[in-house]
Each structure stands twice: as C-alpha cells, then as structure tokens.
Subunit: 144 residues, 2 copies
C-alpha cells in the first residue's frame, strides 16, 4: 500500500452546522467551528487526528472529559483559551495540552481572540470502553 | 489533576548522540537529529507524541515498518523527503503522512533541504503486540 500524504490545505473541512444534531445544545458556541479528519484518509485507525479551526468566539466542544481515551491538542496558529475545572490556560501557536483518560477534569477550548485559531486534536480510539461526561450540561454521559 | 500545558519552546530536546547505543547502525545519519517527548509530560500514555528536528542531511530512523502500531507525522516547519518502498514523497510545512500498522511498507524521513525541518510524530502504544522490522539493515526485527 502506498503511503498516504495529505497537506492541511487539502483537508476537507466540514462546518459544524453540517455535522450538528437538530437538538444540539448551545449551537451559538459552534457556528464558527470547522473540522476536518486526517487519520482516516491516511489509513490510521488506532487514534483519531482532527484539524479544527475556531473563528473568534467559537468553542471546541461542550466542556467534557473522557473515561477511557487520552486526548492531545497542539495549536498550529492563533490563540486559544483552555478552560477546565481549575480555571483558564492561554495557548498560543506551538502550545500542546494533554487530557489523560479517566481524569474527571472537564475541559474545552474557546477562541477569545480576534483572529481564527487552528489546532490538531489527537485521541485514542477505544470503542466499547469509552464514556464522555459533560458536567455543565444536561447531556450525556455518552457511551461509545 | 491540573491540565498540563507545554509550549514547543519548553520541550526538552535530546540529541541523538545522547540516546544512541554504542553499536548504532549508520550513526552518520542521525548526528543531526534531536528529539523531545511531549506525551509523558502531558500525562498521556495511550500514544506517544515526539517533537523531532532534523538538520540538513539527517534521517528520522532506519527504514522500518510497524506490525501493530499506527504512526502519524505532521510537518511543522521546513521540508522533508519521505522514502518508502514506492519511492519518494516531498513533505512541506502542513503535510501529514500516515503509516498504518501491519502494512509492510518500510519508511523514513530525510532532510535534503538546506534548513532544519521539524515535525510531530504520533504513535499508538501496544507493548507486547508490536514488532518493528528493518528490511534494509542487519537489525531487528525488534519486539516491544
């Protein structure tokens, strides 16, 4: 099998609206979010790799934590604010953050700057073992 | 547990010479390679994340393939040449490549440009299941 190569400029970026459920919670948080998948086009199945751009004001997700899957983010461009149970962290281009499985510290990212911000998100895939909890919202826990 | 955040500028980068075995094969390929680990300082254990810089002329590794662990690379800066069984691919800043587990297509990266190149490498961790094969060299297969 030929090695698959993909430049970010060729990733299919899908607006949140085209991925959203009709009963989505806090839709105004996500209108400025676009996301593309890198792992599958590259033949990778053991972990996911998503490319995400947040317009000013947009959020990554409802605040959440993973029971079984590690998550890692790396900021490629722009500035983001990471919010978790302990407050806020500022992330700039070149910043990475880790969210270990099973740590009940719900987190998300928001773009409070006046320019778009882009990051890579990597998450292990453990279907059947995973539960995602959303302590701020009347949603979930979601089993996967 | 507080979320761990780490900027690339703060990653401990270790020269290849300080990681090498005395009987290393093709040491001249690796003198210009420095590598730092991101996952562990961020509390991530289910996959590895390494930051690697290759000086002009330096290689990522002996050409190899993984029996059980998916591998993903993303170029942050500079230009690299990916060499596999099918020839060469040029990678530039923003390029990603995937190396699915079990695909016997040995690969490595070399910096043939005249400037340093930096990339992130992500690999799943499946100790006990993994074997790495090095078809070009009298080395391995290595079981992990």
């Amino acid at each position: 099998m030929e090695t698959q190569v993909l430049h970010l400029s060729a990733v299919e970026m899908i607006p949140w609206r085209d991925r959203a459920r009709a009963d989505a919670i806090k839709p105004q948080w996500f209108e400025g979010q676009v996301e593309g998948r890198l792992a599958k086009p590259l033949g990778i199945t053991q972990f996911g790799v998503n490319l995400v751009t947040l317009a000013p004001g947009a959020y990554s997700a409802l605040r959440h934590w993973h029971a079984a899957e590690d998550e890692f983010v790396h900021v490629l461009a722009g500035e983001l604010t990471l919010i978790d149970d302990h407050g806020e962290h500022r992330l700039t281009a070149g910043s990475s953050a880790g969210f270990p499985a099973g740590v009940a510290n719900a987190h998300h990212l928001v773009n409070r700057s006046d320019a778009p911000a882009t990051y890579l998100a990597v998450g292990s895939r453990r279907p059947g073992a995973e539960t995602i909890s959303y302590p701020d919202d009347d949603f979930g826990p979601v089993r996967k």
